[in-house]
């Protein structure tokens, strides 16, 4: 491999890696949809607190959605009333807290917190900070009897398992399904060990303690399942743990499809002091939204990508221009492939792509008909001008004027029958047509009519293929929303520029040598 070859490969690899890297961040992390018009469900999450003031200093705390999970939630809003609000991060956990305070509240008071999210799935990875942050520890420090029972029980689990994975599975099965080998014996032990927490939490806590004692990082997570829109949504609790670098979630009673993690630990969502009749209510409301709008609000850490790899901040007219512009490299990529690998012969290097762009104005079939007709007329004029022996530039000028006149005549003739064609022709690029005619007539004279028609047809075929690619809704969407793919296209062009193999057409050309 020569050094220029190697450099080309390195450059191509860098370009492609860069483009695909940004592309992957967008699709995997920011949840950019891959299909145009994809919709995503956004959930409006609301905590509604209602209580009576007692004319004494009041303090109300709630957990806010934890921000250590890789997911999107946005537009947090607080309805404070007269209360003061402070936000704190809990030390040691990833929990966030909102604290509302007021010196002398009276009567009924209302506080609200709302946020929007698309939530996460049971397989969303757990944060890195949670991995290996725990060490082995034994629970029940103060109660020696329980401590002994726990040690015996944990030892029993350990004996009957092969490794951490089977230990975890077995423990969860014992605690939540009561599947013990000795009938109720195991269930009795578990009953002793369960604390005085509410039902699901007590078992989760025991599981957490058992995992922790075995050195498996585990925590109780609380949140809601994003299943149906309703008021008075039930809070759910589950166990999160790490095993050999993998994330696991155990959901008592079966896993949901989507969920929204709020906080960690066995505490209640709301804590209050100095108020009466505290009542809180969680509600969820589902809204269908363009998935792309959801992804664009992925959060401040993605601002760089949202700004530099997106056209959405530009004025609308500029956006429309780029919608077309970014598809052109796709057409060029196809053209390069057709020329370097297949061996298409075309008039001019990028002429077919320009013709393909021109087809946007006319649509494919009309464009092909118009194009062929105008070229045929133009060639006729060009051959007649040859007899007058005009100089090159004036001759081109005559052809341009003739093309404009032909277009005008077609427009006027069509205006009665079919206005669509008449209007669309107006922007059909006459200079491209003129240059095509000039090149074609030179090939016609210098080589042969057959060669000229062959190259003309080749140009037309390539133009049609690139037009279809450039106007494909999926291609337009991908190129416009993922402009980083331009880097990938550039890399591919670099690679194709170093292709030294035979073209498909050369297999035919050299068929005599392939025997």
């Amino acid at each position: 491999m020569t050094s220029s070859m190697r450099r080309a490969w390195v450059l191509a690899a860098i370009l492609i890696a860069l483009g695909l890297g940004v592309f992957l961040i967008k699709t995997v992390r920011m949840h950019f949809p891959l299909a145009p018009n994809a919709v995503a469900t956004i959930w409006d999450y609301e905590v509604y607190l209602e209580f009576d003031g007692r004319d004494e200093p009041a303090r109300v705390e709630i957990y806010l959605p934890a921000n250590d999970v890789k997911r999107i939630f946005s537009q947090e809003e607080f309805y404070n009333g007269p209360f003061g609000l402070s936000l704190t991060d809990e030390a040691g956990t990833a929990n966030r807290k909102a604290t509302w305070t007021y010196r002398f509240p009276s009567n009924k008071k209302v506080l609200r917190f709302t946020a929007q999210t698309i939530g996460e799935t049971p397989s969303t990875p757990l944060p890195e900070t949670f991995t290996g942050s725990e060490t082995e520890e034994l629970p029940f420090e103060e109660d020696n009897l329980k401590r002994q029972a726990f040690i015996v029980w944990a030892a029993d689990m350990r004996r009957r398992s092969a490794d951490d994975k089977s230990f975890a599975d077995l423990t969860l099965a014992e605690i939540f399904e009561g599947r013990g080998p000795g009938g109720d014996k195991s269930a009795d032990e578990i009953a002793v060990l369960l604390g005085d927490l509410p039902a699901p939490l007590a078992r989760l806590e025991l599981a957490r303690q058992t995992f922790q004692a075995q050195g498996i990082p585990a925590r109780i997570a609380n949140g809601v399942y994003l299943a149906e829109a309703r008021r008075r949504v039930e809070l759910r609790h589950w166990l999160e743990y790490h095993l050999d670098g993998d994330s696991f979630r155990y959901f008592p009673g079966g896993a949901p499809t989507r969920l929204f993690t709020l906080w960690y630990g066995a505490d209640d969502l709301v804590a209050d002091s100095g108020v009466d009749e505290m009542e809180y209510q969680i509600s969820l409301q589902a809204r269908r939204n363009a998935a792309i709008d959801v992804a664009r609000n992925a959060g401040p850490e993605y601002d760089f990508i949202n700004h530099w790899f997106s056209f959405n901040d530009l004025p609308l007219t500029t956006q429309l221009v780029y919608k077309v512009l970014v598809t052109i490299p796709v057409g060029i990529l196809i053209l390069v492939f057709l020329r370097q690998f297949i061996g298409f012969k075309t008039l001019g290097t990028f002429m077919p792509v320009l013709i393909g762009i021109a087809f946007r104005e006319t649509a494919l079939v009309n464009g092909l008909i118009l194009f062929t007709a105008l070229i045929a007329l133009g060639l006729g004029v060009r051959f007649y001008l040859e007899r007058l022996q005009l100089l090159l530039v004036p001759r081109l000028a005559v052809v341009v004027v003739f093309i404009v006149m032909s277009m005008a005549v077609i427009t006027i003739a069509m205006s009665n029958a079919n206005q669509a064609i008449g209007l669309s022709i107006s922007l059909f690029p006459m200079v491209i047509l003129t240059m095509t005619i000039e090149r074609m007539s030179i090939v016609w004279e210098e080589q042969s009519a057959g060669e000229a028609i062959k190259q003309g047809a080749g140009s037309m075929a390539v133009a049609a293929i690139t037009y279809l690619a450039m106007t494909n809704a999926q291609v337009e969407y991908m190129m416009y929303q993922f402009p980083e793919l331009l880097l990938v296209i550039m890399g591919l062009c670099v690679l194709m520029g170093r292709y030294t193999g035979l073209r498909l057409s050369e297999l035919w050309r050299f068929r005599e040598l392939a025997r």
Binding site: S4, L391, Y499, T500, L502, L507, E512, L513, R515
Partner: protein, 328 residues
């Protein structure tokens, strides 16, 4: 099917356009030296400086003022050729046999007025035939009176010999013959016949037209193989020395044989076509590899020619070009 034929072409050392461009043209022909072949006037001057014969230059027309001297330049009873200095693939060349009834007779027998000649020259000047369309010059030069040795196997026009030269070592050769179909021009893509020529001996071998094998000339029905090219050693030497003049590592050298003046350098081509492989019925790769090995020895031109002939002779002895199958 596709993979089988790729494998077979690879085995026969066939080189495609992509490989020619990357490995030979781009790699061996530095862009800053291309002016030596892109402008035929420069080529001619460089060649004459070292004594490589070229067709005599009657005049150069580079603007309207020169055009007034055109009638003087045309005062040659033996006819003349008008060609664009930067033309390629034989585009824009006008061959005039001599005066005819107040006008001029073209090589194909048609009579033209001086106005038509002026128009052709104006087209050349405006860049119609030059690469990229930049303004050009028109050369008016000696019309070659071709050697009768190829008379039986050419139809009108002038046959020429194309030698592919790698770093000054002749590697591959082909005789290009005009046909009725090619309008008296020797360009292969217009229907000219390409006949493979053995580097070692100068004998014609196999032939092709429009990428297909043929054995007889399509117009004269004369067998194409077994004709000895005269002045073969001189031709090879001219080809080899062209490298010392231009410094271009991969060149197609076009030579014509004049009845009186012997071989003359017509032009150099920095992007020689690859159809020559069909005419020789073998791929370029192995011949170019052998030439590369000879070029490593840093010999002078006559020694390079001797080595090239020797290598080609040895190679042909143990590996004949692939013959068509008996049943194929």
């Amino acid at each position: 099917m596709v993979f089988r034929s790729i494998a077979a072409l690879k085995r026969n050392g066939v080189i495609g356009i992509n490989e020619r461009n990357i490995r030979y043209v781009n790699h061996l022909n530095p862009r800053k030296l291309l002016y030596t072949v892109d402008d035929k006037l420069v080529t001619k001057q460089l060649a004459e400086k070292v004594g490589i014969p070229t067709p005599e230059l009657y005049g150069v027309i580079s603007d309207a003022r020169d055009m007034r001297r055109l009638p003087d330049m045309m005062q040659h009873a033996g006819g003349f050729v008008i060609k664009p200095a930067q033309g390629s693939q034989g585009k824009g060349i006008m061959v005039i046999d001599g005066p005819l009834k107040g006008g001029w007779r073209l090589a194909n027998g048609r009579r033209v007025e001086i106005d038509e000649i002026r128009f052709q020259i104006n087209n050349i000047l405006s860049g119609m035939y030059s690469l990229g369309g930049q303004p050009d010059k028109a050369l008016i030069e000696y019309r070659v009176k071709f050697d009768d040795v190829f008379g039986a196997i050419s139809f009108k026009g002038v046959p020429d010999i194309r030698v592919i030269v790698l770093k000054g070592v002749p590697a591959f050769a082909m005789l290009r013959l005009p046909t009725a179909e090619s309008d008296g021009k020797a360009n292969l893509h217009r229907g000219g016949v390409g006949v493979g020529v053995d580097i070692a001996t100068g004998q014609t071998q196999l032939a092709m037209q429009f990428d297909q094998l043929i054995e007889l000339h399509p117009d004269t029905a004369h067998p194409l193989n077994g004709v000895q090219t005269p002045h073969w050693d001189d031709i090879l030497l001219m080809a080899a020395r062209s490298y010392d003049v231009t410094g271009l590592g991969y060149v197609g050298v076009d030579v014509v044989l004049d009845r009186e003046k012997g071989p003359m350098l017509l032009e150099l081509n920095a992007r020689p076509g690859i159809s020559i492989q069909i005419a020789n019925r073998k791929g370029l790769r192995f011949a170019l590899d052998r030439a590369e090995a000879i070029a490593q020895k840093n010999l002078n031109a006559p020694a390079r020619v001797a080595e090239a002939k020797k290598a080609a002779g040895e190679h042909d002895a143990d590996a004949a070009p692939c013959e068509p199958d008996a049943n194929g």
